[in-house]
């Protein structure tokens, strides 16, 4: 059964740089030649476990500014790692052009093959093709931007003192998740278009001029009208709190605004990753699985290596059941890969039920194209809503629980049966919608007439309020940055009733 030694990429678990190159070339042949993936150029960097811990601490980026919270992160990971509670990831991949994959020196040759197939081709293809990434991130510029950010913040520390800069960063980090544009907006008009519009408007007014209007008495704008005008000029309501502060906070200094901008842009850069966790990992697992399968079929890796691969592959895909004692949510790897494998099955060998549910592609026989289309045009929420099949719901025995505030008991609302499929699929999809998980907080108004109060609103869904103590702390940061009082009202999204409210004054001497 053993393939002739000459076709083997490596034997044993040792590797060197020649081996890595051979492995990469073999993977590339399959990924580009057979799977027809479209990837950024690759760069593979070999690092030690200590460097991996360093990378963890700075959210995986090779360059990052300095802040104590990263030190905290480092110490926490360090402890888990030392105690053996958590192994380190075998790889880390950065959405940049060229795409940088870190591989650990401790990995065996098989693990390196897995990692290269997983990161350098799987994730890489996803980064380059998925619409969320294309829309929101600039792979080419990110490393340069991080370099700029680090320098800028270091310069600020020299000029204004570490403590000052740290305060701004602390506040900005607290608002980081509210520093994201969630919806693409109309591109700002350029000056020419602006002028043309202005001319058109004047021409229209002139053509409709009627002297009679002048005879009407001038009346003061109503409260509502002035509010509308104010909101329009400030771009309210605004959900991107950091953006609003950067542009409109009355008392911040230039460098402070720039730091808010840096934090906000970095948060924006990571936003697509949060939206596509399931798909991104699923895609990477699917790609590495298929590449290694092919390597094995063509006799380029040994049986032993393939078994080693299958072992870690199935570890990654482990999904404990809710009552097993180590359930901690859905494993994104298992969920993503499961659905993708299922798509393959539906394309090749659909049941009648599949034909009913997935009429567009059931039995089409070309799973690769269906998958590529999914990778390019969906995010977690829409992906699950579109592709989670009854077959999988039965296989995983998914069920839905309703947990109402006023009841002592929870109710089983749906199980894996004909009545439950839609409900379960819809709910699971909703749980993977980042915009639905994060609280919906918006700036609605500023009281410019008197004391510059900043008014925010939390749109409460399902009566789930904010965690009080933390909300208070975050609002304190917000008030410090704004410089005046900040009021947050929690309003029920359904009936607009006020459920709770906070009013926080800035601490004197923090920024002003």
């Amino acid at each position: 059964m053993n393939a002739p030694a000459s076709t083997l990429l490596y034997s044993g678990s040792d590797w060197n740089f020649d081996t890595l190159q051979r492995i990469y070339d073999a993977c590339e042949t399959i990924a580009i030649g057979e799977l027809d993936l479209n990837v950024y150029p690759n760069r593979i960097e070999v690092i030690t476990s200590e460097q991996m811990l360093d990378a963890y601490a700075s959210t995986g980026m090779p360059i990052f500014y300095k802040h104590w919270s990263f030190g905290k992160q480092f110490l926490a990971n360090d402890l888990l790692y030392r105690k053996g509670l958590r192994g380190l990831a075998y790889e880390l991949v950065i959405n940049s052009d060229p795409c940088i994959s870190y591989v650990m020196e401790e990995n065996s040759a098989t693990m390196q093959t897995l990692v290269i197939a997983h990161a350098a081709f799987g994730h890489n293809h996803f980064f380059k093709n998925n619409y969320v990434f294309r829309q929101w991130t600039d792979a080419e510029g990110i490393l340069d931007y991080l370099e700029f950010a680090r320098h800028y913040i270091a310069r600020c520390e020299e000029r204004h003192g570490q403590a000052e800069v740290e305060r701004v960063l602390d506040s900005a980090h607290a608002l980081m998740q509210q520093g994201i544009h969630r919806y693409p907006r109309a591109a700002p008009l350029n000056l020419n278009a602006e002028r043309r519009r202005e001319e058109e408007r004047r021409a229209y007014e002139e053509s409709n001029y009627n002297a009679l209007w002048r005879t009407l008495p001038n009346k003061k704008p109503t409260h509502r009208e002035s509010r509308d005008m104010r909101q329009k000029s400030l771009g309210l309501p605004q959900e991107n709190l950091l953006y609003f502060l950067e542009k409109s906070a009355p008392r911040l200094r230039g460098w402070q605004r720039e730091i808010l901008r840096i934090v906000r842009l970095i948060a924006q850069y990571f936003y697509p990753q949060r939206q596509t966790k399931v798909m991104n990992e699923g895609c990477a697992v699917w790609v590495h699985y298929n590449i290694l399968k092919r390597l094995h079929e063509t006799g380029q890796i040994t049986e032993g290596a393939f078994l080693e691969f299958l072992h870690s592959h199935s570890n990654v895909l482990y999904q404990p059941t809710y009552d097993s004692g180590h359930y901690s949510g859905h494993n994104p790897y298992a969920l993503g890969f499961g659905i993708m494998e299922d798509i393959e099955r539906i394309c090749r060998d659909p049941s009648d039920e599949d034909r009913r549910w997935f009429a567009e592609f059931a039995g089409c026989g070309d799973p690769l194209n269906v998958l590529k289309d999914a990778w390019a045009n969906y995010r977690d929420e829409s992906f699950i809503a579109q592709f989670l099949s009854p077959h999988l719901i039965r296989k995983w025995r998914l069920f839905k629980l309703d947990d109402r505030e006023k009841d002592d008991e929870v109710e089983v609302a749906a199980i894996h049966d004909e009545q439950g499929y839609q409900e379960i699929r819809r709910t699971l999809a909703r749980h993977h919608d980042v915009a639905g998980i994060d609280p919906d907080i918006q700036i609605v108004d500023v009281d410019f007439d008197s004391d510059r109060k900043l008014m925010l609103e939390h749109n409460v869904r399902d009566r789930v309020l904010l965690q009080r103590e933390e909300a208070r702390q975050v609002l304190q940061h917000l008030a410090d940055l704004w410089g005046y009082q900040v009021i947050l009202t929690e309003v029920d999204a359904a009936d607009r009733k006020t459920l709770n409210s906070y009013a926080i004054d800035p601490r004197p001497g923090i920024f002003y």
Partner: protein
């Protein structure tokens, strides 16, 4: 595709962030270090250690949805028994079986992490308000001595050994037959003599030519073979040596009768730790012997020493006797440097005092390097600030006080009083170091 080997990149990229974190959490970390001392063994004080602090100053707040209020739903895998419409008791913990909200509870209150050896010692010593010099002595890694170790062919100009170099140069000159100045002067004199002849014979001319030729040869030889050549250079070589190479034993004696409370024991422990740190700086091998006593004494392990209480009277001499027995048995004063650290609240049977003093003065002080007696007491209550009552043991030891500078005694209420006990020890050490 490029493969880049980053393994050789400078290490410790997170060091700055780590320091910033520790600086920010300094107060709570210092408290945690203090707390962790009670659970650490004396020997472990030098290793890195895990501490945990409250997340007060270091939590990073974000807007989060409360995990208790509101209506929510969960999708879970692994249904075996449920049908639609079943009602289940809500599991304790509130958030309905974990679900997607798991892990976003109210956050853990404790933050655990590992401090490196340097960080730990630094914070520990800072807490004791030690002078910087002493801190450096204690935190510095091994102390080395520099010792001459022969000669080497390379080195800095300041360590050039002139005699050795000149000797080499001379033997080389001899071996290679470098013409000496005397030889050349002789030759020049001969030439001058011949040139001075007004009517030189044919033979004279021939000799003169030969001599001139020889002078040229010699001069050339002299320039070719230098007086001192780089290969002659010898430098004095120095080696670092850990000093002094020897061993020490610390005897920790403590009164464990009921009158010693937690506070007192903690003070005693810090005192022992400091002594241990200090002694490990000076000796390669350090052992610790714990002897506890009430009215009788016994050698115990560290755990028992600090954490078990005994009832009974107090007879200090029993501990000293026990110590002498151990010394006789295992630690010959010829091979070991012996240190004695005694902690007590000062109680002793009055009639035991003479014996205690005698043992200390006549038997123990002659064989130890240093003996320290620490009298621990409760923090002074705000009202009473007057002269303290001299305890039994204090009075007894006071007689020994001056003898030979080996014996130090101190009363201690709080952590920061402990260091001065060592001041004598440090100053004495640096004095002997100068002398040697």
């Amino acid at each position: 595709m490029h493969i880049i080997d980053r393994r050789l990149n400078p290490r410790g990229k997170s060091l700055v962030n780590r320091q910033r974190f520790l600086r920010r959490a300094r107060d709570s970390v210092r408290g945690a270090v203090r707390d962790s001392l009670t659970s650490r063994k004396i020997r472990e004080v030098e290793s890195e250690g895990e501490v945990s602090i409250k997340t007060g100053g270091i939590n990073e707040p974000t807007f989060r949805r409360d995990s208790h209020s509101g209506n929510r739903d969960h999708v879970l895998p692994g249904n075996r028994v449920f049908r639609t419409g079943d009602r289940i008791k809500r599991p304790p913990g509130g958030s309905g079986g974990g679900g997607d909200e798991a892990g976003t509870g109210d956050g853990e209150d404790e933050f655990r992490f590992v401090l490196s050896r340097e960080e730990f010692l630094d914070l520990f010593l800072e807490d004791l308000e030690l002078p910087d010099l002493a801190k450096r002595r204690l935190t510095g890694s091994d102390s080395f001595d520099i010792r001459r170790a022969g000669y080497t062919t390379s080195g800095s100009p300041s360590s050039l050994s002139v005699p050795r170099t000149m000797r080499n140069a001379m033997s080389r000159r001899l071996a290679l037959r470098r013409p000496t100045t005397a030889e050349i002067e002789e030759l020049e004199k001969d030439i001058a003599r011949l040139e001075a002849k007004t009517r030189p014979t044919e033979k004279d001319r021939a000799t003169l030519d030969a001599l001139r030729e020889r002078l040229v040869v010699l001069n050339r030889r002299r320039t070719l073979i230098s007086y001192i050549d780089p290969i002659d250079l010898r430098y004095r070589r120095f080696e670092q040596e850990r000093r002094p190479i020897s061993q020490a034993v610390i005897f920790c004696l403590m009164d464990v009768s009921g009158s010693m409370n937690e506070h007192m024991k903690e003070l005693a422990k810090i005192f022992f730790i400091l002594l241990y740190l200090f002694v490990t700086r000076c000796y390669r091998h350090v052992e610790i012997v714990f002897i506890r006593h009430t009215d009788s004494a016994q050698e115990v392990d560290e755990e028992t020493f600090f954490y078990s209480t005994e009832t009974g009277g107090t007879r200090v001499s029993s501990a000293l006797e026990e110590m002498l027995a151990v010394v006789k048995d295992r630690y010959s004063p010829l091979d070991w440097n012996i240190y004695l650290a005694q902690a007590s609240d000062g109680d002793n049977f009055t009639r035991d005092n003479p014996q205690t003093t005698a043992l200390m003065r006549d038997e123990i002080l002659p064989i130890v390097q240093y003996a320290a007696y620490l009298e621990v007491s409760n923090p002074p209550s705000s009202g009473v600030t007057g002269e303290e009552r001299a305890t039994n043991l204090w009075q007894a030891y006071a007689e020994i006080g001056g003898s030979g500078g080996k014996f130090a005694m101190r009363r201690v209420h709080s952590r920061k009083d402990i260091y001065p006990v060592f001041r004598d020890l440090f100053s004495r050490r640096s004095a002997t170091a100068r002398a040697s």
